[in-house]
Amino acid sequence: MKKPSLFTICFVIFILCWVFLRFFIGGVISKPIPNSVILMYMALVFIAILVHISVEDTRFREFLRPIHETLVDENRSTRRLVFAVLIPLLMCGFTYTNIAKKANPPGDPRTVHPTPPDNLMYKDIVLGTMDKAENPFRHYEKDNPEAYKSHIENGRTVYYQNCFYCHGDHLDGKGHFADALNPLPANFQDPGVLPNFSESFFFWRISKGGPGMPASGTPWNSAMPIWEDYLTQDEIWEVILFLSDYTGYKPRTFGEGH
């Protein structure tokens, strides 16, 4: 068998890299990768090939030889004809599909972490600054486990009477009302949720709900009710205790992790 030309080898490597990214990495190993990411990697592959072939002058000539032949060689007129038809046809089809593509509605860009206000409020009462306001029941965890437990139990009742419709029986954001909401309700089983925020942050999100979101970083589209209309201060702090007790994740305390 004739040794394949340098051009063929490079071409095959290029295609193999694409297949590897598209179907192996984005299929067997993980979920499909976005096209933009594939494009980035393929650009790298292209540059690598370019560097490889242009290191030596002879190698570069060797690489160009088949293209050269196809373009001008007398013996290659059939191949030339095939390419002269195929390339314009491909370009034609490519342009058509791009123009005829339907527009999709704008995606919802979303800031995951809204910036809380400076002061923590319950209705009109200022409970302290955001970084100082504390869960009044938290200290029982150390000095009175019995009382701590009873507050968690209260929190459990609050949760199952108010929150579980959307946030779910398993606290995973998959309640029986969740599927009609966009964005989806918070998933407290996600290790990125409770440990990343302070209890005062959760108090703010629960008491003021979707309408209490800051003016920056819109659109929020949150369906979270204003719970201070229904729950007392104590109930909100208790349900936060319950969230952390049930999931085993502790909200962040200020001074930690900075």
Partner: protein
């Protein structure tokens, strides 16, 4: 001789010595079971008690707002069983329900939250709430799936006829949307309201929507609900005979021959029911038993046909919500927009908008009866027309106090748009619940005025005002077989700055509120959606025919140029 005696003695002694071990094994089993129950109690109290109650009475702290109510385990009545009517469920049945949950209710799947061992422990614990589990010595009798009839067009046809014969329509309605005449009056064993299933929404079937599941619900019944233990009204008749019987029954005047045939069939049935009673009382001779078994076989056959028919009523799976590529796209037509009954509507695919109870502002709706609204739309150069379709089991046109069904209100629907379309993806939309600082523009429709749409402007769910200037919005609607169809036509532009103005190619937020009067929906108590998108799909531009050939020619030119360049360089 002596030795042999000793041997015998030894053997006997040996045999007795095993006995304590057998008992020990028994106590070991008991101990293991007790341990399992104790472990199950712990899991139950953490994961189940808030709905089902610490005593298993279905009265946990969350129960108040739930319908269907959480199961009361103390009565031994289980809806979803693989066992025959009147029997307890198998352990596997209970395990499966815990694992998979009950669609359309607040019972979630527990597969992700509890491991299999924990789920079995819970089963063991739940069984302690009802004495009957201990007392029953024989295992519950499971429904046999033998003789299953394959899913086919013919079987569906037969099933459809049986649907009428079995009088399923009385509760489930003529075409199965749960809108039967007795639907509003049904309650369960505990006197809670119980709606018959909408057979067109099989994603809400509590016990799964496989044909086998549906078959088991027929043969075993749904204990504690209004779905009865099943009885064949034409017991003893074959499928053909039953068909003939119904035919004759519906006939006004019969010939003498037909009269005789009819009487014969009636006698046959009466006889069969007599035998059925005998067998149920534990009596009956060999021959009668044989007849009974034959008739039961026919009954099972009928149930398979019926299961196939019910399966055929729903789509393969729940439609995908109208998000992203599924967004509602209004299609361009030239000339007049089709009226409500025009066949042109059938050519469009529906966009599906799931709805949930409004639980943000009092009064709230925790137990919605309306699953979704489906929408289609056409537009032309000056107008847009929408067709809104939603299932509602009852047609309520006014506020009524009813002895059987309690207080009902009027059915209604509101379609919500922003007054101003957000400029970009990061521009804020009005609050999804009828606006806030940013106002929304609403089309309000009520069942008592079926040909009328009122335009509202709202800045909050309790802050809506009827617009002074009402655009001429053409409206048509109908209620048939448990389904509303509402047709609305409006000019694209109205010249009123309080109205939404429409242009092709611009995505517009859209949301819905629907009221089911029979479910107590009134004012803020309703089902809602959050914001979705719709667009007047631009007419495909002619550019798509012009640009591609130009590009093709250009690339051909480039190739020829390249060849010329290379040739010239070669000659140099």
């Amino acid at each position: 001789m002596k030795i042999r005696n000793y041997t015998l003695l030894l053997v006997i002694l040996g045999m007795f010595s095993v006995v304590p071990f057998i008992f020990a094994q028994d106590t070991a089993d008991d101990a293991e079971e007790a341990q399992k129950v104790a472990a199950g109690k712990e899991v139950y109290e953490k994961s189940c008690a808030h709905c089902h109650g610490t005593e298993g009475r279905g009265d946990g702290s969350a129960a108040e707002n739930l319908l269907p109510q959480p199961r009361d385990f103390t009565r031994g009545l289980y809806k979803i069983r693989s066992t025959e009517s009147g029997q307890l469920p198998t352990d596997q049945d209970m395990f499966d329900i815990i694992t998979e949950g009950m669609p359309g209710t607040s019972m979630p799947e527990w597969e992700t939250a509890l491991d299999a061992k924990e789920r079995w422990q819970v089963v063991a614990y739940i069984k302690t709430f009802y004495e009957g589990f201990k007392e029953s010595e024989t295992p519950p009798k499971e429904i046999s799936l033998k003789g299953k009839i394959p899913y086919s067009k013919e079987s569906i046809e037969i099933g459809k006829e049986l649907y009428t014969q079995f009088a399923c329509y009385e509760c489930h309605g003529d075409v199965g949307r749960g809108d039967g005449t007795s639907a509003p009056t049904l309650t369960d064993e505990w006197d809670y309201k119980s709606w018959p299933a909408n057979l067109h929404q099989n994603w809400n079937y509590r016990g799964g929507n496989d044909i086998d599941d549906i078959y088991k619900r027929f043969v075993g019944g749904i204990a504690g609900s209004a779905m009865p233990m099943f009885e064949d009204p034409a017991f003893g008749l074959s499928i053909e005979e039953a068909k003939r019987y119904t035919q004759l029954d519906n006939k006004g005047e019969m010939t003498a021959a037909e009269e005789e045939e009819y009487t014969q069939l009636e006698d046959k049935m009466a006889n069969a029911f007599e035998i059925l009673d005998l067998i149920n009382a534990g009596e009956g001779d060999e021959e009668q038993r044989k007849f009974y078994e034959e008739s039961m076989k026919t009954f099972y056959e009928k149930s398979w046909h019926l299961a196939n028919y019910v399966k055929s009523l729903s789509p393969e799976k729940r439609p995908e919500a109208a998000i992203g590529k599924n967004a509602l796209r209004s299609q361009y037509v030239e000339g007049e927009l089709p009226p409500m009954d025009d066949a042109a509507w059938d050519t469009l695919k529906e966009s599906y908008f799931p709805l949930v109870g409004q639980i943000i502002v009092e009064p709230r709706q925790f137990n919605p009866t309306i699953d979704s609204v489906s929408v289609k739309s056409f537009y032309n150069d000056t107008e847009v027309a929408f067709l809104f379709i939603w299932d509602d089991r009852t047609h309520n046109t006014s506020e009524e106090e009813n002895e059987d069904t309690g207080k009902t209100y009027e059915d209604a629907m509101a379609i919500q748009f922003p007054v101003k379309i957000p400029k970009g993806p990061t521009s804020p939309k009005p609050y999804f619940l009828w606006g806030g600082k940013l106002a929304v523009y609403l089309w309000q429709w009520q069942a008592s005025a079926p040909q009328e749409i009122t335009e509202l402007t709202a800045k909050g769910i309790n802050n809506a005002t009827v617009q002074d200037v009402q655009t001429d919005i053409q409206t048509d609607s109908e209620y048939t077989n448990g389904q509303y169809r509402l047709w609305v036509k409006r000019p694209l532009e109205t010249g009123d700055n309080k109205d939404l103005q429409l242009k092709p190619g611009v995505f517009v937020p859209i949301a819905f509120s629907v009221w089911d009067g029979a479910n107590g929906d009134v004012e803020t108590k309703r089902v809602i959606s959050s914001w979705y998108s719709f667009v007047l799909e631009p007419v495909p531009s002619v550019k798509r025919f012009i640009y591609p050939p130009i590009v093709a020619l250009l690339s051909l030119g480039l190739l020829i140029g390249l060849r010329g360049f290379v040739q010239r360089r070669n000659t140099e």
